[in-house]
Each structure stands twice: as structure tokens, then as C-alpha cells.
């Protein structure tokens, strides 16, 4: 999907690569329509989860891969987005049903707004929290940043668990309206991907990559490193909040136990496997891992292999994924795509030997 840099003004040229991309997107749209009509509920859900994980993976990659900030509190921002969106879209009756232990605070009771504004507000809420957390925490060095963000993720979760009148505490919220349709999640995934591509090809994206590659040099070249970091953190939190909201409205149940470090780990896994610093890597990895996670569920169930029967081995799935992550990080640190983007030339290159070119030319 990467096009050669064009200098100067040129009319929109229908190059071979662009044509291929348009065809691919159209084919995918057809696939999505078919899926929506013909897949059974379970398969459709897996298909749509891929979209949500694309959003989440890209939001984390923006931070880790492109700006070089190692943040482990991602689940916290997702939680904020999920809860804000849920509280805004639930009807008063639904709220009353859920808050049976302690009634909901009055000012939240009667707010019910449509999905689109709700999800945007949820994203902004997460972005705001991200900004509040980021401003102090981004001054820290990488490993301290990791632990501090992990801490904040946990703090958010504990706060949600204890703020009974607002969030219904540990009981969580059930029966959320299923606003996350095939159309909405894949449009969201598409928009976020487009956003990332445009951002990374812009000067701001370059500035972020410069901050990642060498902070001191970036600062010396006139880049306000701190401001870039905070901006990246805030935007990443916005996207995480949107992802969390989509997740909530797909599963229709949210509770604090969903948003632990485990969730952050899953997304980190996707990002690392796909290649830190590659947009297409994250997209591909999100799809593959989501499908694999479901497909490998059989590992947790009793298996009937030809030669012997095994009992259900719960936990085997996560064992496999952990091993996968470690093998990937030890032997192929760059992940699937490294920090390069998918291009039709690359695909062609797999079949036809071509000369090598360096860099990630944008």
C-alpha cells in the first residue's frame, strides 16, 4: 500500500499499485458483506473481533512501535473508553436493572445518546485520561515508564472496581446494546488504519519516528520531544478508548476483570508478532492472532488425536502463545514485517527475485 514519493504536483495517477490496493479493498468489502449474511454467529463474531483488535493493535503500535514509548497500561484506557461509552448508551431501565446493589448516581441515570457520539466522547475521555497521566509520566526513562503505566492501568482498574455508584463496581455492566455491527467495526478499523498511514507519512509521523530512533538527536533538530510524546500518548489513548468501547459493545458485557494486564499483553503480543513499527504488520497480525486464538481453543478441550486421546488441557493455549511470543522476540525480533510495510512489490518480490533497497521510503 506504500506508494512512491511524488515530488511536485501531479494528477492522481492510477498506478498499478494503487489499482491493486483498490481492488483488494473492494474484494474485502464484498467478503465482509458475505460474512455478515452467511457466517454463523460465532464465526461472525471472530471475524469482527479481528477488526477490533486491529484498532487496538494500531493504537499500541503508535506508542510502542512508532514513538518508542513502552507503555503497559493500555488496558486502563480501554476500560475508560468501554465504561464511558456503555454508561452513555445504556437506557435508564437497563441501568436500573444492572445497578441492583447500589443505585447509579443520578446525573448518569438519564443520559442515553446514540452510538456514534458516545464512542467519540468515550475516545475523548480516554484521551483526556491519557493526557493527565502522560504529562507527568512521560518524563521517565523507558523501564520506569513501563512500570508507571502498568501501575496506572492497575489503578484505573481498582478505581473502577470500587466506584460502585458510577461503574457498578465488580458486578460490571451487562446487556449493553450490541452497537458493534460488522459495518461499524470494520469501518472503524479502516478509518484507524487510514489515519495511521496518513499520520506516518506526514512530517509528524517522521518526528515520532525520530523520537523513537534517537531522542537527543531529534531534540537537537528542533523537535519538541516532550510534546511529541504527549501527543502520541494522547492519540494512542483515544484510539484505545474507541477500541475498548467497540469491544464492550460487541461482547455486551464489561467488568473490571476484563481489563487486566493480560489484555494489554494480548495486544502487545499482536504488535510484537506483526512487527513493532509496521502498520500492515499490526493489521495482519491482529487478524491472524485473533483467528488463531479461537482456532487453538481446541487445545484447551479434550483432543482425539489419531494415536492417543488427551484430556482437556486448559491453559495450553496461552502456553503456546507465550512460547510463540518469546521465540519471536528472541529469534526474530523484528516480528513478521519488521518495520517495513506491506507493498505489492514485496509480494511480487517473494515470487520473483529483485534487487534490495534500504530504508522505509515514504
Amino acid at each position: 500500500m506504500i506508494m512512491k514519493a511524488t515530488t511536485g504536483k501531479q494528477p492522481f495517477a492510477l498506478t498499478r499499485n494503487r489499482l491493486l490496493t483498490i481492488i483488494a479493498l473492494a474484494a474485502f468489502a464484498v467478503l465482509a458483506i458475505i460474512a455478515n449474511s452467511f457466517f454463523d454467529a460465532f464465526t461472525l463474531r471472530v471475524f469482527n473481533m479481528c477488526a477490533i483488535y486491529i484498532v487496538l493493535a494500531l493504537s499500541l503500535n503508535l506508542l510502542n512501535g512508532f514513538t518508542g514509548l513502552f507503555s503497559l497500561g493500555h488496558a486502563g484506557f480501554m476500560a475508560v473508553g468501554a465504561y464511558v461509552c456503555a454508561l452513555l448508551t445504556m437506557t435508564p431501565e437497563l441501568k436500573e436493572m444492572n445497578y441492583f446493589l447500589v443505585p447509579i448516581v443520578p446525573w448518569l441515570r438519564n443520559i442515553t445518546i446514540p452510538f456514534l457520539p458516545a464512542i467519540l466522547i468515550a475516545g475523548l475521555a480516554s484521551a483526556f485520561v491519557g493526557f493527565l497521566i502522560g504529562a507527568p509520566v512521560l518524563r521517565l526513562r523507558d523501564d520506569y515508564l513501563a512500570i508507571a503505566t502498568l501501575g496506572f492501568g492497575e489503578i484505573i482498574r481498582v478505581l473502577i472496581t470500587n466506584a460502585q455508584p458510577i461503574t457498578n463496581g465488580a458486578q460490571g455492566l451487562k446487556g449493553l446494546p450490541r452497537y458493534a455491527t460488522t459495518f461499524s467495526v470494520w469501518v472503524a478499523a479502516g478509518l484507524v488504519t487510514l489515519f495511521m498511514v496518513l499520520l506516518m507519512r506526514s512530517s509528524y509521523g517522521r518526528a515520532m519516528k525520530a523520537v523513537r530512533d534517537d531522542e537527543l538527536a531529534a531534540e537537537a533538530m528542533g523537535i519538541n520531544v516532550f510534546r511529541v510524546k504527549v501527543t502520541s500518548f494522547t492519540v494512542s489513548s483515544f484510539l484505545a478508548g474507541v477500541g475498548g468501547a467497540l469491544l464492550g459493545h460487541m461482547i455486551t458485557t464489561i467488568d473490571p476483570k476484563m481489563f487486566t494486564f493480560m489484555l494489554t499483553f494480548n495486544i502487545l503480543l499482536i504488535v510484537v508478532l506483526g512487527g513493532i513499527g509496521s502498520i500492515s504488520g499490526s493489521v495482519i497480525s491482529a487478524i491472524v492472532v485473533t483467528i488463531l486464538m479461537e482456532a487453538l481453543r481446541f487445545l484447551d478441550e479434550p483432543m482425539n488425536l489419531i494415536f492417543f486421546k488427551t484430556e482437556g488441557l486448559p491453559g495450553l493455549r496461552m502456553v503456546v502463545f507465550s512460547i510463540l511470543l518469546m521465540v519471536m522476540v528472541i529469534y526474530r525480533q523484528r516480528g513478521l514485517m519488521g518495520n517495513k510495510e506491506f507493498s505489492w512489490d514485496m509480494l511480487q518480490g517473494l515470487f520473483v527475485k529483485k534487487g534490495r533497497k534500504g530504508g522505509d521510503h515514504v
Binding site: 496518513l198 506526514s202 512530517s203 525520530a210 530512533d213 538527536a217 522505509d360
Partner: protein, 251 residues
């Protein structure tokens, strides 16, 4: 153009720079020399805002810039290179230079992402400017190569060109000839003189090999353990006994 007044930098008990009083005039090429560990890079770091001096001031074109953040100092017109080349490892030659143009593009994240017309024109202007710079130093044919894949001497040039892209009034070069043989060093010094003339610059450079800079500097400061032991034109520096002692046979 650039001057420091009683600049002192202490790290705990260690005094890296002591009472440094520089005066650099427009279009001069001034050298800061001294044996290893003399405090030269530290002086650079203080001037460019990476450290806050323990005492003293830094003045640029009459204005007190002590304590400003490095990116603000760059925006005012002071650019620098690093002793161990700090190119952006994952980026191409062109991108390295374009990063330095980010300051002038300055449209904020939304304008940039949406590729609004205001952004687009500035971006293409920046590209044109960068390519022009690369052409002037003979690197334009490598524009899309990965920056760190270049041979050492060209990497150095790239770093200098990148600094030039910030449109500075004064350029601080930290040991630009490090790792070069005498022939390459001479070429580099010619290059420095050329860019000084072409871009109307002032140059302040660090070097610890005296011979390299003798021919190119008009004025030199000699540092030893943070203390200025001599300053003046190259001829008098060469004969200065204190300087000879500080180097003690080291070339």
C-alpha cells in the same frame, strides 16, 4: 554572535567546564580544542541546552539563552552534530534531513495527518529544499538509501547536512573529523569552509587533533580539564608552551 560568560558546569564533585568565556563573531570559524576529557562536548551540551549550567550564561545574538530547551535553541538558529554520529537509524537519507525540516512545517498533527493544502505545500517545499541540500553535498543519488548504510565519511556529511536543514545561523560541529585519515580530514575541512561561505554561517567546532583544524580555524580556544588555557589565532596557539604541555606529545 555567540558568547558565554563565566560558564561553569559541575557534576557533583567533578568540574567539567570552568569559567568559560567564549566570543564567536559572525562568519568566523572558531575551534575548541583540547585533549580527551577536557570538557569540550560538555561545553557544547550546555550551549545547546542539554545541561543547565552550574554558573554563568550563554548569549546568542545578544539574547540570554541559558536554560532554554534544546529544541528552542535550535529554533533560534543554533544547530549541532554529535561526536558519535547520531543519525536516525531506521530512516532513509532524505527522511533524516526532512526530520530537521519539521520545525518549519509546523502545522500541528491534524493538518499534517489530513494532508491539508497548507501542509502539503510546506511539505513539498521541505522536500525540494532537502533534495537541494543533498545535491549540494553530493548525496542526492543516495536519497532513498538507509542512512546508516552509508560509508562513514558520507554519514558524517549527512549529519552535517541534516543540521543545515534547520537553517541555522551558527553550526556547532563535535569532532567532525573523528575516525578519518588525513586526506579525508582535509576534504572535510574544505567542505566546512565551503558551506560557511555558501550558507553564510558561523562555525564552531570541536576537535582534539590540532593539526586538522590548524588550517581552517581563524580563532581557537584550548581547554584542559575544563579550564581555558589559551585562546588566539592558530599560529600563537601552536607555539604556546601551556598548550604543548597539555598535549604532551600527543599529536
Amino acid at each position: 554572535m555567540l558568547s558565554t560568560a563565566h560558564l561553569t558546569m559541575k557534576f557533583g564533585g567533578l568540574t567539567a567546564v570552568s569559567d568559560l568565556n567564549l566570543e564567536i563573531r559572525k562568519n568566523e570559524i572558531v575551534g575548541l580544542i583540547g585533549p580527551n576529557g577536557a570538557g569540550k562536548t560538555t561545553a557544547f551540551n550546555v550551549i545547546t541546552g542539554m545541561y543547565y549550567p552550574t554558573e554563568g550564561k550563554v548569549l546568542f545574538k545578544g539574547r540570554d539563552i541559558t536554560g532554554l530547551k534544546p529544541h528552542s535553541i535550535t529554533a533560534l538558529g543554533i544547530a549541532r552534530t554529535f561526536q558519535n554520529i547520531r543519525l536516525f537509524k531506521e530512516m532513509s537519507v532524505l527522511e533524516n534531513v526532512l526530520v530537521a525540516c519539521h520545525m518549519s512545517i509546523n502545522t500541528g498533527i491534524f493538518g499534517a495527518t489530513l494532508h491539508l493544502p497548507g501542509y502539503r505545500s510546506r511539505e513539498s517545499e521541505a522536500r525540494r529544499f532537502s533534495m537541494e541540500l543533498l545535491e549540494k553535498v553530493g548525496l542526492v543519488h543516495l536519497a532513498y538509501e538507509k542512512g546508516t548504510s552509508l560509508p562513514y565519511g558520507q554519514q558524517r556529511r549527512l549529519e552535517i547536512v541534516r543540521a543545515l536543514a534547520t537553517k541555522p545561523k551558527i553550526l556547532l560541529l563535535d569532532e567532525p573529523a573523528a575516525g578519518m585519515n588525513p586526506q579525508e580530514s582535509r576534504e572535510l575541512m574544505d567542505f566546512i569552509r565551503k558551506i560557511r561561505d555558501e550558507f553564510d554561517l558561523t562555525i564552531f567546532l570541536i576537535e582534539h587533533h590540532m593539526q586538522v583544524v590548524m588550517g581552517v580555524c581563524e580563532h581557537m580556544y584550548v581547554l584542559d580539564y575544563g579550564v581555558t588555557i589559551a585562546h588566539g589565532d592558530p599560529a600563537s596557539i601552536q607555539k604556546n608552551p601551556k598548550v604543548i604541555e597539555a598535549y604532551l606529545g600527543v599529536d
